[in-house]
Amino acid sequence: MTLRMPEPDASVLARREGIVAALRRIVPEGVIAEAELLRAYESDGLTAYRQPPMVVVLPETVDQVSAVLAYCLGEGVKVVPRGAGTSLSGGALPLADAVLLSMAKFNRVLAIDYADRLAVVQPGVINLAITQAVEGAGFYYAPDPSSQIACTIGGNVAENSGGVHCLKYGLTTNNVLGVELVLMDGSVVRVGDGTLESAGLDLLGIVVGSEGLLGVVTEVTVRILPRPESARALLIGFPTVVGAGHCVAQVIAEGIIPAGMEMMDRPAIHAAEAFVQVGYPLDVEALLIVELDGPEAECDALSAEVERIALANGAVNCRISQDEGERLAFWKGRKAAFPAVGRLAPDYYCMDGTIPRRRLPEVLERMDVLSQQYGLGVANVFHAGDGNLHPLILYDANQPGELERAEAFGNDILRLCVEVGGVLTGEHGVGVEKRDLMSTMFDEVDLAHQQRLKCAFDPELMLNPGKVFPQLHRCAELGRVHVHGGETRFPELPRF
């Protein structure tokens, strides 16, 4: 592991037995401390990094969560929260001297309110299970990360997860109306009351996407939406990536916001077709999947418009799904793209930068050059509508030095994203993966303003340390204010 994590606290490790016993008194049926069982928790979806936790606790009640956190704060024990462990950025990577707090037993849908179009669920509920709970009444939960059959809503709140439909329907933050949150001192607070406006400061807005650093979410109120009447997909092949990029820009410029708009490059197309055989064209450089939803009349009208725009931008083939089976087939290759690319090499490393779309051709060209320099292949899948790139770097962890090369290649790609006006992560989170790159986007003053928020929630820095921020500054140090001297250019300032 090339990554530096906070040095384990020897005094905590020395007290491990007592800590485990105390945790067993709080959660009698949910403490795992046996070395061979801890192995199951040693990594999340970012499997390059592994570290068994000191102990795993699986609470079942809010009172237990509160008691565990308060105990850990008192004993100086760090806590890493975990949902399903599908994070692609190492957000749930354990620490050797920390409690891993698994929310897996918080798995109930508590209430569904169709009149107000919301559902109240526990954080361990699987993303797709929310949709399954409400689909009988014609509703669904919109954010659909590709891990939606496994990831939990609590993890989605922590990471502000997206998905292929967030171009039109927003990220998690746009679909959550309230949470119950336990702070590190054990206090239980509610932010957001299920209405459309915050009563005070928008604390809900910063809790969503805070990567488990601010508190442990014990209940989530989400917005549910009526399922659109119909959906249709277009599968469009282009001889050049540039043509596909122009098509995407023109679709949006003409006033169409598709429900989803995905792009794959040649290596990704070939890998996906070899894996699922759904009839993707193999003689093109870029493939677009454009999904439209709404009434039949809208899908008819807009699919004709998108086809016209595609052909005007040099598309060499364009198929419009004729039924639900065909629409799902178009998606099947895209949804299987990660495992499909995974068959091209022993390992792959999935990146997640966002760029202004107009810079796409240049970014892909420079990625090609980097690919040659590092001697590692790369396949691209791309949320084309919102500029969110997922380059998949191919490597073999068993070859000495290849993991390090893959990481260096990935870091260069993310630096490139920032250089062209984009950001380090569109939906996977910073975690440990992009932690040390934060300074490419934010200077020290910017980062200090973010870290002081952390201090407002968790002043001892006990929750999920080592994630998101490249350096852990003590809160007292961050809180110092440099007061300007007596002389001021602004004598007109009113004094109090």
Partner: protein
């Protein structure tokens, strides 16, 4: 405006100096640009930090769906620039000036964001906070910092833009904002139902919102001076889609609303002013903005009426504007009993001085909010006594 103790920086450097100096001097600063929301909150003797020097659109690329502007850019300039490209702000803003008897046109983009001002389409399209992508600001520490980014999809670091939206000048002085824009709907139409009572109106709006008709806005005005009760549902989008959805919605509701009369009306896509709902409410009364779950709205308005209040619903019942000749917090207490909260938007000075504009939070949340404010403003430069 021309007040003796107003400071008007024209660069970030000057702004940093002013705020830093205020901190050192123990001074307080009230951030202001267009002044359209001066009437919200208690009167304050804090010095005015006039942000109007930060004006103008910085960057706008329609096909990227992103616009960057200085904070004091007039809202009307921003809306005209995006309209010229067939687009609109992704949220539905409005100008508070008419609410306080001033001519429209005073609101700035920064004020709209700082107040998280969202109009009728907030129901379906999201609030201002949902579409603020990034910002540049100077915090109460007198330090320039940025948050968010300039692309439509970004989860890098804490989502500070959400916190800045709706912070009402209590954390930082915003200088530059990046917001999301979207194509402007090509057409719109409205379905109007006559004669429903509050419970039937909320039920009809819930049924509409729970259908695939993709209703953009839904409001209800009870019987009053301006005539019989009307419930209105706005649908916008592509022409073929709008007529299909309008037809489906009329079919759906015709059975539900019994003998009430339903009519369909072509509507201009832009003409659904938020403040129409409060136009006829007496300006000398307290005006509350009440947030509720829609299903709680009928019970709430029945109790508010019993207190002598006038009301109108937006956001399918999720927002109730209440005007009342009353100097107590009874409306707010009712909102809390119904699981929601209430903001005091317009009131006589004496009431504004006595009652906080925003709902006081429970103790532990209030303590957390206080720590968050101190994180950005440790010396209380922006604690003006206004909120």
């Amino acid at each position: 405006m021309g007040s003796v103790n107003a400071m008007r920086p024209t660069s970030e450097g000057e702004l940093v100096e002013i705020i830093g100096a205020a901190g050192g001097a123990g001074a307080r600063l009230r951030i202001r640009s267009g002044g359209s929301k001066d009437g919200v909150g208690a009167a304050s003797s804090a010095g005015v930090l006039d942000m109007s020097g930060f004006s103008g659109i910085v960057d706008y690329d329609p096909s990227e769906l992103v616009l960057t502007a200085h904070a004091a850019t007039p809202l009307s300039d921003v809306m005209a620039a995006v309209a010229a490209e067939g687009q609109a702000l992704a949220f539905d803003p409005f100008d508070h000036a008419p609410l306080f008897g001033h001519a429209p046109g005073a609101a700035t983009l920064g004020g709209v964001i700082a107040g998280n001002v969202s109009g009728p389409r907030r129901l379906a399209r999201g609030a201002a906070r949902d579409h603020l992508l990034g910002f540049v600001a100077v915090s109460g520490r007198g330090e320039r910092f940025i948050g968010g980014g300039k692309v439509v999809k970004n989860v890098t670091g804490y989502d500070l833009p959400k916190l800045m939206a709706g912070s009402w000048g209590r954390l930082a002085a915003l200088t530059e904002l990046t917001v999301k824009v979207l194509p402007r709907p090509r057409t719109a139409a409205m379905l109007r139902i006559h004669g429903l009572d509050a419970a039937a109106a909320v039920a009809a709006m819930a049924q509409a919102m729970g259908s695939p008709a993709d209703v953009a806005a839904a409001r209800h005005v009870p019987e009053g001076k301006s005539g019989p009760a009307v419930t209105e549902l706005l649908i916008d989008g592509f022409p073929a889609s709008v007529s299909a959805r309008l037809g489906a919605l009329a079919d759906l509701l015709v059975g539900a609303v019994g003998s009430a009369r339903i009519e369909t009306i072509a509507a201009d896509a832009s003409a659904w002013p938020a403040l129409d709902l409060v136009r006829d409410m007496p300006s000398e009364h307290a005006l509350w903005k009440v947030s509720l779950r829609p299903s709680a709205a009928p019970g709430f308005v029945a109790q508010a009426e019993a207190l002598g209040a006038q009301w109108a619903m937006d956001w399918a019942g999720g927002l109730v504007w209440v005007a009342i000749d009353d100097t107590t917090t009874r409306v707010r207490d009712l909102a809390v009993m119904e699981g929601g909260h209430a903001a005091l938007m317009r009131a006589p000075d004496v009431l504004r001085a006595a009652v906080p504009a925003f709902q006081p939070a429970p103790t532990e949340v209030a303590a957390l909010e206080e720590r968050v404010r101190r994180a950005f403003d440790p010396l209380g430069v922006f604690e003006t006594g206004r909120f």
